[in-house]
């Protein structure tokens, strides 16, 4: 059964990712189909709920780890069951509800995608046994809720609200990460189960206060506690199903959950009690107070949510058995009634087109089902029997009375907040369900009986659950006891009943209700008084302040960036070079040891020195020449010189490649250069001298580094392995080629991808705004025959080089360039159009084919259970055919395609035809 929770949670993630396909498959039924999975999970959890023995937790390995040493297990105990059931149950209802509510919205795929992923994240958070996993899921909820709150992203307000929520919760998430790392560091484990069984308590640890502060920020931002509460009303910009979900049982309750989870490890200290009691108390009262001044139904609910979250933080902060018990019950109570009320608000909004309580009236008659569900939820909110809310409030009062230290503060605040809850419930009830004389009843767009069942099912189901649990609270006792055992680390028998006898608590309740009625009766003066106070506090309007803070920060960053990022290319380089120079020289001076090896230096070969000297002269000439063509030719001399150098030192493949590349680059250079201006003398003498000094410095530095680097061999070179194994395992005698296509094929794969990108870059750069144009073509049959023949010879030669490249000089790169050189010649004679004709296809497809072949060679070995890119060989006598050859073919095709593509593009754009 426990395994099933893992499977179903995984399935929720999977469904989330597959939403785009499911939407196509199920059309408007998507929401209802998606709801099946959370309902199944809910059923599973219910079964476990009734069968889980006291004082046991189940750990289910998911077989899935973020990191090798960081397994990710599901922890199933009373606490995660209660939260998991709320998350999945309300989640299913919300999805069913959405399928009607969102029916006319654009972007439903996106909506379901993020909503379902959010649900998965929330479930992962609740069930995670590993604190690191908990953090990751915490972040998933932050990010997905960002997209949900900002769903109407074409309007500014939702965007801003989403940004605010993200900035705050992500900041909290960062704090959580640090806290988790510190806890893991202190305990040596990230596993909650291990932390629990080993009985860690960090209250006396020297780092406790830092961890506490980090957790405090994480919880207060996520659970919208004062002074970070302001993002929550803004989040009302989200579509109503999102509000119903985020603010009833999920998102904002993640902070509550975290507190309960960490209570055994971090809770119970003086600072824990004082800080959370105060924060919770203030939030509880402020939320309730602000709700009095609102007209928008959703905003009223948002502020009561803040108040409820404050209550829970307060209760957890009090840290007594009674208070934790009350917090758990109140979480269930609040989830049930708040989910129902939000959905009710959505139904009313859809049906009447307004959420303004001043405009709504007489809904009891026109929408009886919605109204009765709503009234039951309101009863629960005001803490009246026979709803579960009554039991919750009685427990809260009980806990507050029992609290020794701060009861003088907590009781008045709590009673005041509850009075307001009673009053606001009455107010909403009176204004929208009854029909006051001064109001016109609003007209309905759809009569209620025309609404689909699943639209009404949410609020009705939640109201009924609240009612049934209120009458039979005994059902919750076992699981509550289990949860309490793990939160308080002691055995506690939970007893719940509707009737507690006539006592202090009941007296307080009666007083609360009476005062609530009084506030309701004087709602006009109370309302205007509240509004005056709200207007007065609006000058400290926190969302505005927060926005301004962010804006100031950004402009500071902007100014700073402008100073550093001045836009002058040369000064960046100068900064870069001088800093590197200073650092490297400093390090070189600190290093000891010889500079020039006396014994192992290779003999000076005069012919090599001549080549180098000649190349150097060419470069120096290129630096000072004013002629573009001469500069290019000089570059060619350098390239060929280096090619010869490679040849002298036995690097045949290198020499060939360098030679070919040099040639093609020069051709491309010459093609482009005539479309560019002449060199002009742009710098004055002083800059030239400055640049020369810097350049000399860099040159000296590089020389020293090259000399020094030869003495620092930290690791044994792997080259020996290649020399030993390239024939035996790679079936190739050309070691360089075997390295490229077999031993280090992954690198090569990356590099040819870069080549493909370069070709794509050239294409987009040159072709972006180019119109098709007519071409004149040269006709010369004899010449065409000869050049065609030459092309075929080149391509044939290239294929020959490709095949033999494994054993002798050659290989995909060289072959590719040679084939391309054939096409280049053809293009120069007949124009780029003719090349494309000859190819019968676009060079882009050739590039794609090459990349595909290489990836194919990479993937094929995985079918036989090998890691990607393993060389598989088929030997027939002396002939070996294998995937590395396929890989090399891919390289060949890609290189050919790339060069041909670049050249034809350049020729087209520069009108090099004819």
């Amino acid at each position: 059964m426990e395994q099933l929770t893992v499977v179903l949670t995984g399935l929720i993630f999977l469904m989330g990712l597959m939403v785009p396909f499911l939407r196509r498959l199920f059309k408007s039924y998507t929401g209802r189909i998606l709801a099946l999975v959370p309902f199944a999970l809910f059923a599973t959890l219910t079964f476990i709920f009734f069968t889980l023995p006291d004082e046991t937790s189940r750990l289910v390995d998911t077989g899935f780890g973020f990191l090798p040493e960081m397994g990710f297990s599901f922890r199933i105990d009373g606490l995660s069951l209660i939260f998991g059931m709320m998350v999945s149950g309300i989640g299913g209802l919300v999805l069913g509800y959405s399928s009607f509510y969102m029916a006319k919205y654009a972007g439903r795929t996106k909506f379901y995608f993020f909503l379902v992923l959010f649900m998965g994240g929330m479930l992962g958070l609740v069930f995670a046994d590993n604190l690191m996993a908990l953090f990751i899921f915490w972040e998933i909820t932050s990010i997905t809720s960002f997209f949900l709150i900002g769903f109407d992203h074409d309007k500014e307000k939702p965007r801003q609200a989403a940004m605010q929520a993200l900035l705050l919760t992500a900041f909290g998430g960062l704090c959580l990460l640090f806290a988790v790392i510190m806890i893991g560091d202190m305990a040596g484990t990230y596993s909650l189960s291990e932390l629990y069984t080993r009985g860690f308590r960090f209250g006396a640890h020297s780092n406790y206060y830092l961890v506490f502060l980090l957790i405090f920020v994480a919880v207060t931002t996520k659970s919208a506690q004062f002074p970070f509460h302001f993002w929550l009303p803004g989040a009302m910009n989200a579509p109503t199903p999102v509000s119903a979900y985020l603010h009833s049982a999920t998102m904002v309750n993640a902070g509550i959950f975290l507190l309960l989870r960490l209570n055994p490890i971090l809770g119970g200290t003086v600072v824990w009690k004082t800080v959370f009691v105060l924060t919770g108390g203030i939030t509880m009262f402020l939320g309730a107070f602000y709700s009095l001044g609102q007209k928008d139904l959703k905003r009223i609910l948002a502020f009561t949510t803040i108040s409820a979250l404050g209550t829970m933080v307060l209760l957890i902060g009090m840290n007594s058995t009674a208070s934790i018990q009350a917090a758990l019950i109140f979480f269930i109570v609040h989830g049930l009634y708040k989910g129902g009320l939000f959905m009710m608000a959505g139904i009313i909004d859809k049906n009447t087109g307004t959420r303004d309580i001043d405009k709504l009236a007489g809904l009891l008659r026109s929408m009886p089902v919605t109204s009765i569900a709503g009234i039951l939820a309101l009863l629960s909110m005001s803490g009246l029997p026979p709803m579960l809310g009554f039991i919750g409030k009685e427990l809260i009062y009980d806990a507050k009375i029992q609290m020794p230290e701060l009861s003088w503060l907590v009781i008045p605040l709590g009673v005041a907040a509850n009075m307001i809850m009673v009053a606001i419930s009455l107010w909403v009830f009176y204004e929208i369900f009854l029909k006051p004389k001064y109001k016109q009843p609003v007209s309905l767009k759809h009569p209620e009986h025309e609404l689909p069942g699943n639209f009404l099912a949410g609020p009705v189901a939640l109201a009924l659950v609240g009612l049934v649990l209120g009458m039979f609270p005994g059902w919750l006792e076992d699981t509550m006891s289990n949860a309490m055992y793990f939160i308080q680390s002691e055995t506690i028998d939970v007893h719940l009943s509707l009737w507690h006898g006539f006592n202090q608590v009941l007296l307080l309740s009666i007083f609360t209700v009476a005062m609530g009625v009084v506030i309701f009766l004087f709602r006009k003066p109370v309302g205007s008084l509240v509004n005056i106070i709200i207007r007065w506090t609006d000058q400290y309007h926190l969302p505005e302040r927060f926005n301004r803070l962010i804006k100031n920060y950004l402009s500071l960053a902007g100014r700073q960036t402008n100073r550093i990022q001045h836009g002058y290319h040369r000064y960046y380089l100068i900064t870069f070079f001088t800093v590197t120079f200073a650092l490297v020289i400093y390090q070189l001076i600190r290093l000891k040891g010889p500079w020039i090896p006396a014994d192992e230096a290779g003999p000076v070969r005069m012919h090599v020195v001549m080549v180098l000297a000649f190349s150097l002269l060419a470069v120096i000439f290129a630096v000072f020449t004013r002629s573009r063509l001469s500069a290019i030719v000089a570059m060619g001399v350098l390239g060929y010189g280096i090619s010869v150098f490679y040849m002298f030192y036995g690097a045949v493949d290198l020499a060939i490649t360098q030679f070919l590349v040099e040639t093609i680059v020069m051709v491309i250079f010459v093609m482009v250069i005539y479309h560019l201006p002449h060199f002009a003398k742009l710098s004055d003498k002083r800059t030239r001298i400055r640049d020369a000094v810097i350049a000399t410095g860099v040159g000296v530095m590089v020389t020293l580094v090259v000399l020094k680097a030869r003495f620092i061999n930290l690791e044994t070179p792997v080259s020996g392995f290649f020399a030993q194994n390239s024939f035996l395992e790679g079936h190739g005698r050309n070691i360089v080629n075997v390295i490229l296509v077999d031993f280090r094929a992954l690198d090569t794969l990356g590099e040819i991808t870069v080549l493909a990108l370069a070709a794509a870059g050239v294409f987009t750069l040159l072709r972006l705004d180019l119109n098709k144009k007519g071409k004149k073509q040269m006709k010369n049959l004899v010449l065409e025959r000869i050049v065609s023949l030459f092309l075929y010879v080149m391509v044939g030669f290239a294929i020959f080089l490709l095949i033999r490249g494994h054993n002798r000089p050659g290989g995909g790169f060289i072959a590719g360039i040679i084939a391309a050189a054939g096409f280049l010649l053809y293009a120069i004679v007949f124009g780029s159009e003719a090349v494309l004709k000859k190819l019968h296809t676009n060079p882009r497809y050739i590039i794609g084919t090459g990349l595909l072949l290489a990836f194919l060679a990479a993937i094929i070995p995985t079918f036989s259970g090998n890691p990607p890119l393993t060389g598989l060989w088929l030997s027939m006598g002396n002939i070996h055919i294998g995937t590395p050859l396929l890989f090399d073919t891919g390289v060949f095709v890609l290189v050919t395609g790339m060069i041909v593509s670049i050249i034809t593009n350049i020729m087209d754009v520069l009108k090099w035809n004819s």
């Binding site: 290319h569 040159g699 590089v702 000399l707 050309n734 870069v754 040159l766 790169f813 350049i906």
Partner: protein, 117 residues
């Protein structure tokens, strides 16, 4: 010989850096070109140049020792680097062409102004 090559590389770097610091974009491209060649040489040199045999396994042999041949690993690294430099050169040239076409200048200092809104 190492000393000579090291100095050669240093001089190439000096020329390359000097070219990079020019305001003309064409010179800048030449600079990149010189630097990439010089860097390839450094990598090649890191394998050592005392031995200069071809890095192949003989016709009859099954394995080879590094005693006589040039280190094959830097060769493999440099080989792809050379081909990539071809791709990069083509890309920079295309970029430069487009840049010149759009702005009508090849003075890098002019570019800093279009950078800011």
């Amino acid at each position: 010989m190492e000393l000579i090559i090291a100095i050669f590389i240093g001089l190439l770097y000096a020329c390359g850096v000097y070219l990079l610091l020019r305001r003309s974009i064409v010179k800048l491209i030449l600079g990149v070109f010189v630097l990439s060649n010089a860097t390839n040489l450094i990598i090649f040199l890191s394998g050592g140049i005392q031995r200069s045999g071809i890095s192949f396994i003989g016709e009859q042999a099954e394995k080879a020792s590094l005693e006589s041949m040039t280190d094959p690993l830097p060769q493999a690294l440099v080989l792809t680097a050379i081909v990539i430099s071809l791709g990069i050169s083509a890309y920079i040239l295309a970029l430069k062409y487009k840049y010149f076409e759009k702005t009508g200048t090849h003075d890098l200092d002019q570019l800093s102004k279009t950078d800011q809104k």
